[in-house]
Symmetry: D2
Subunit: 464 residues, 4 copies
């Protein structure tokens, strides 16, 4: 008997239970789960004593910012996937708003070629919805393997480059303004036909623009003014229109980065009525709130914005009760220079792919959620919702041997210079955490261990 890899003496965790066991791996798959030892040589043996062994964690919301036509000084896929591996993730879904956008099958195929040699972990690719500009491409894009579709509600589009443009103004050239709700509804209908999930960035652009202008006129510049310009109402109205559209068109709708108590309430109601609505939130909405602005400044600027303590509390409750079945990082790095600009000039986005798992393990130690809930939020649910379960997201013989080993007792401190993204910026600088991923195993192969990469990229493109 020859085993490729044996992970011994760990405490196995899935969405339902926690139990001691050994995992024997052959040909990238879990070949056996045992309590005692099996005979046979093993190419690699990992002693997981003292560790929790999770089904490999999945981050469905990563902006590596790399397209075939160019990477960014902010981030690229090589660094993002490296940071992911070290951060305890075994699969990431890359967002499609890059250059060129993942708006058709060809762009997707090129991106797969581009990413594969740089991937430390497995990856999936989001397709983008640009309304009429690529409505007739969605079916092929789906067949080519887009994991799901994203629609950037409220963004204008450059008709030459297909790049998204925020803060649209009619005077801008080559731009089509944000799609109207008629065209948006047609997107919902079209995606419903593919059977894939449609995810939305849910902010009411027109409302934000009007209120931000009001705020600007008033001269107020503080975080309170910022929130007044992007109120909870902007998220509420877009989510509820999205839910109505999804209900009517039969679309599986995923609400990205939910930030408001109103948003949680709407998703809760929709799910109770049996509509196929899911939602996610991100660590920065769980660990930060408006009270942190004096300390952090633009480092915590993100869209939708980090809100008030009452919203934060409802987001935790939403995770616990199952209203928000997914956690994601919305990893969206900017350079340190950019994030040093003031609140109104700095770009929105937070580096997060590497810090998500440690932050959430800390939450487990604080009693905010259980290891089983974490296995659901970061493994089982993402895999189920996007059609990868049980190949991904489970601890089950016969499926991909993706494992994240975690030491719940390990104390670490977040330091930006230890991060592996291209730009090393974080709002959590200096934060002391208990609980950290200590080994990341992708299809049987250890890719990261104790905070360092082990070996070379071997990630694969995956699709449902």
């Amino acid at each position: 008997m020859k085993w490729d890899h044996v992970v011994k003496n760990g405490l196995l965790v899935d969405g339902e239970k926690t139990y001691p066991g050994n995992i024997y791996i052959q040909n990238e798959k879990i070949a056996a789960i045992t309590q005692g030892d099996l005979p046979g040589e093993a190419r690699e043996v990992t002693d997981a004593r003292g560790c929790h062994v999770f089904p490999g964690f999945i981050d469905i919301h990563v902006h590596s910012r790399e397209g075939v036509l160019g990477t960014s000084p902010k981030e690229d896929f090589y660094h993002a996937s490296m940071a992911a591996a070290i951060g305890g993730l075994t699969t990431i879904f890359d967002m499609p708003n890059i250059n060129p956008p993942i708006s058709n099958a060809e762009n997707l195929k090129n991106q797969v070629k581009n990413f594969t040699p740089k991937a430390f972990v497995d990856f999936a690719l989001w397709g983008i919805c640009l309304g009429k500009l690529n409505m007739d491409q969605l079916e092929q894009l789906s067949s080519a393997g887009a994991i799901a579709f994203k629609f950037f509600w409220g963004y204008a589009i450059d008709t030459k480059t297909f790049q998204l443009v925020y803060n649209y103004h009619p005077s801008m050239e080559h731009l089509i303004p944000p799609l109207d709700e008629g065209e948006i509804y047609q997107v919902f209908q079209k995606v419903a036909q593919t059977g894939k999930v449609l995810a939305i960035h849910a902010e009411n652009f027109a409302l934000i623009q009007a209120l931000t202008q009001e705020v600007a006129k008033s001269g107020a510049k503080d975080y309170e003014a910022f929130l007044k310009g992007r109120p909870n109402l902007a998220e509420e109205t877009t989510i509820q229109t999205g839910i109505s559209f999804a209900k009517e068109a039969g679309t599986k709708l995923h609400i990205l980065h939910v930030t408001t108590k109103e948003g949680v309430g709407l998703i809760r109601e929709a799910r109770a009525k049996g509509y196929p609505i899911t939602g996610e939130t991100c660590p920065h909405y769980l660990y930060l709130c408006d009270e942190d602005f004096p300390r952090l400044g633009s480092l915590m600027k993100v869209y939708p914005p980090i809100r008030r303590r009452e919203d934060q509390e409802m987001l935790w409750q939403g995770l616990n009760e199952g209203t928000l079945p997914v956690l994601s990082s919305d990893h969206a790095p900017h350079t340190e220079e950019e994030k040093k600009l003031d609140l109104w000039q700095a770009p929105a986005g937070i580096t997060g792919v590497e810090t998500m798992v440690p932050l959430m393990l800390h939450g487990v130690n604080q009693g905010k959620l259980t290891v089983n809930q974490l296995a659901k939020l970061l493994s089982e649910h993402p895999a189920r919702i996007f059609g990868l379960y049980p190949e991904k997201g489970s601890l089950q013989v016969g499926t991909d041997a993706d494992l994240t080993l975690v030491d719940l007792k390990l104390e670490t401190r977040i330091k930006k210079e230890k991060l592996h993204s291209k730009t090393k910026v974080t709002p959590y600088e200096g934060m002391k955490l208990q609980g950290a991923p200590v080994q990341t195993i992708v299809r049987g192969k250890t890719v990261a261990k104790d905070g360092e990469i082990v070996g070379i990229p071997g990630g694969k493109f995956i699709h449902s």
Copy 2:
């Protein structure tokens, strides 16, 4: 003792109870309600034996189509108010989308001067909200006596004439496109400051435009296609955005002409949460449904459209349970020629100010609602919601002697040539009804009796 008018032996009806009584009127007010006879001469005595005496009925939604700059061949205020009086109404609210629109205090004052000599019944005037074009006029318009404000969600505006334009296309000249939701929210905020009600025509224009184009491409031309182009979803999404805006801005929101079961559901939920939301529906949504199209054709074309039987049933339930506290006619005449055009060419709108009360009395006889509910829907609630109660809308000593006398047993048949609007068109032609208004008394003076006008115009402009 001298009485101006005594109404004897009637069955008095208000929102709560029904009881025999006499009403003695002096100086336009109810001076006494008695069971027996009082001494003293009376200038006028009405024997109401066999009749129900209601607090004068109010129609808050009338398009007389007359502005200071011109009347229309479709209708004018003289005819509309005459039809109202004969139809059992003592007060009507005229809609502001005329030429010039009631967009500022001056236009309102001119309209009052214009209307007063032509008014057979008392009248109030709606103000119009045109977004930034008259945002800073709303306060003065309110002070000048606008009863409430109307916003035509989804309509473009001609910047030269301030006329509303439906079916906006970017190629049209001098037009500003339908307001975006940022500007709409500012309208909600502004109206909230006046303390007055904001009423909306709730249809998602962009959605309707897109879906109607799809339908057009498909070549389908029947009523089913028409409804596919203006689905329930269009009403649902606008109402729910409106409710969210009202909740946030503190606006008293009135949903005009609710037509869908989804709309009733949203208003029910909002009211249960304590938000200040009211709604109305109209007789044509209660008595007609898609099944009537083969018989009626374009005569029943109206926006929002008449829908399916299940919607109709929910509207009746909404009236009964109090979710829809108001009935209105949405009187909006077109010429007979226009209404002979096909479904896609004919203008939307139904003549209704004169037939509303008879139709609803017929409903009472059918057991669809009680006389007390009717007193609430057509008298008490409109008066309360728009700040006129108890002066209007009650049977109470000391208040305006507005009375509608009704014979619940009287059988009539609707005939267009008997109508008093400028254009005599009705979808109810030939319908046999039981129950009719037989006498309309405005501030003590009989203005209509047995289907004919009595005397000359004496209506007054009223405001809260």
Copy 3:
């Protein structure tokens, strides 16, 4: 023109509105309501300037303790009805657990004869349900005029005297133990057949007995121990069984003296489902709570007991939202000596018929409820629920001229020596109130004025 009585210049109040008016009375009925003056002489003129004029208040829950076979040193009907008149009531319902009980038509008729010459106000009589002992008498008792039926859930019955016995023990002679739920359900079915209301004292006797014994064993003697022996749970379980029985048998069920937040919750739910369930609470549950025990001692002992602040708050909410449509006094006097006994020896019951209206008017001045709500709770609703409306409970021409005149500004202080019951005991001694009844008019005749009786008894037996 001759008027028997004119009440001028008052502010008329009913469940919906408040308006100035004069009331003209002839032959015990309201003959006219006017704003101005009518000609004609009046035998009596009351100037109600500065007063609110309510439809005469009704107290449906009075224990005068007088039976044909004997009165009590605690109270009798003469004194109870005198106190009622001075306290602003025009009608009282007397409870049937007296000697002999109102268990059959004959006893009822004798009681009517007994009470009529002593009645300062109109009165109705409850019938009693004794299970099989008088099951076949209920129909006749109903026809003879019992206003409704009361069932004392959890009380034993003396088979010789038909007297109720609390604290049943098997060793007691001539007693049948509290009815089991089978027999109780048959009572519900039987009363349903009469179409009358069934009212219950809702306490789970077996539970109370067991828990009180436990408390006794523990040696605790304070009010906390008392409440532990009669927990909210005892009310909750009986109310919910009662509601289930009523729903199934089709019985109109009235829950007497609701005291718990759980009780309010159950009635709210049942009413929302459309079951014919009503409930009442009493001033002592609204104005007192466990925190008052150190000050008041046994003066506040009553069954069910006065509970905690959170219950009290929910009772106010229940009144305001309409879950509890009725207020009553549960007037049940004991002698001063008895009420001086300790918490465990003193009898349960509070004198209240005279203080209810002043206490509630005080509540109006405190903003706890409106005059219109009070008109519903003490006039309109009792009359409607028990089939007396609009003859009682309304201000309407043609109905009984029962009026309670109230001065909302008048300041008074409760003093036991000023009370008119046979025993002058009150837990409100020394309490300063704003708002008091100043004149009580029963069928046109003033029976009490400024705290004193005017004239001789003239009350009548009333029934639906």
Copy 4:
């Protein structure tokens, strides 16, 4: 490497997922779960190709009718456990109402000694609650290993033998009548202190007695009359009182054999509020209804009774939505002679331990529930609720190797002569089913195969 038993090529099923795998067993535990083959000899190899392998099924509600003081001609533990093994069960919980009842630790210990040599499957023992008669024994009974406690609401008790007596009448000797609700509440409190579950037979005895007498008087004898005497209301009122008691006392409450739509509704509401309430139903309530009486007669007599189709449908829904997390057999055999008596004379109870699993597998094939739901209802949930999880109720390395192998395609026909209970009576005679258990493995050892026992009794007493 030496394996005790290898179960190969099966389709493993748990509450969440279904996947191919092999199970390797050592020392009665699951030592490994693998996809491929492991080296090493195996004492026993089972080829499960084509089979579903479930965590061993558990029946928490079996009346073997055997006590230390005597077995019954109806059934004994040897036969009951044999039938269980053949019927696909690996653990059964025996009910405590035998002679002597399991009312104290000593009786429990004697019963363990009595049962162990006769047990083909593992077994647990219910303790009984007799009110004051054994209130002070419950703590020790719990420590001695009672799996949970059962209270027979509405049954009298023979004070000499502690036997339960139904149809109590005061004239009976040596009997204490059914406990009153005070004593019952004390049972709830006492059991709450043990931390164990309290299960109730929920029928309102007094109500049933009264209504059955009424029915008897009417002379009606059909099944409709039978149901009129034991209406849904009897279950509703007892369940709701039980839930109130459990909420207040903090008792984990399990509702045995739920039969009504009202019962499902109450449990649904209670669970939604977070109370620790569980419920079960049984195959006869799912597969039979009143319409089957003409065909089956007394064979389907059981308490609570089999009810109407609308109840049946709600029970299926309750299972599917999780309101009823457990399935049980309520195995309660009577002799064929007894079950031939008429509806009013025959004893209540149905033989069911051997037919439950086949019936439910048939339901899986009919699409009524999924294999994963079945794994929850018969394995995971019973184990979790009674504290045995994951040792029982899971497929997890390191836990008891209890397995039920099932052939979902196998067609069988129920024949009473093939049953293994002492008395061979069934209401399902001749019923053709698809899906059957084909092998039962208790802690690694095959105890039944293809409808026959394999080997000798080896079951063990288990407790949490």
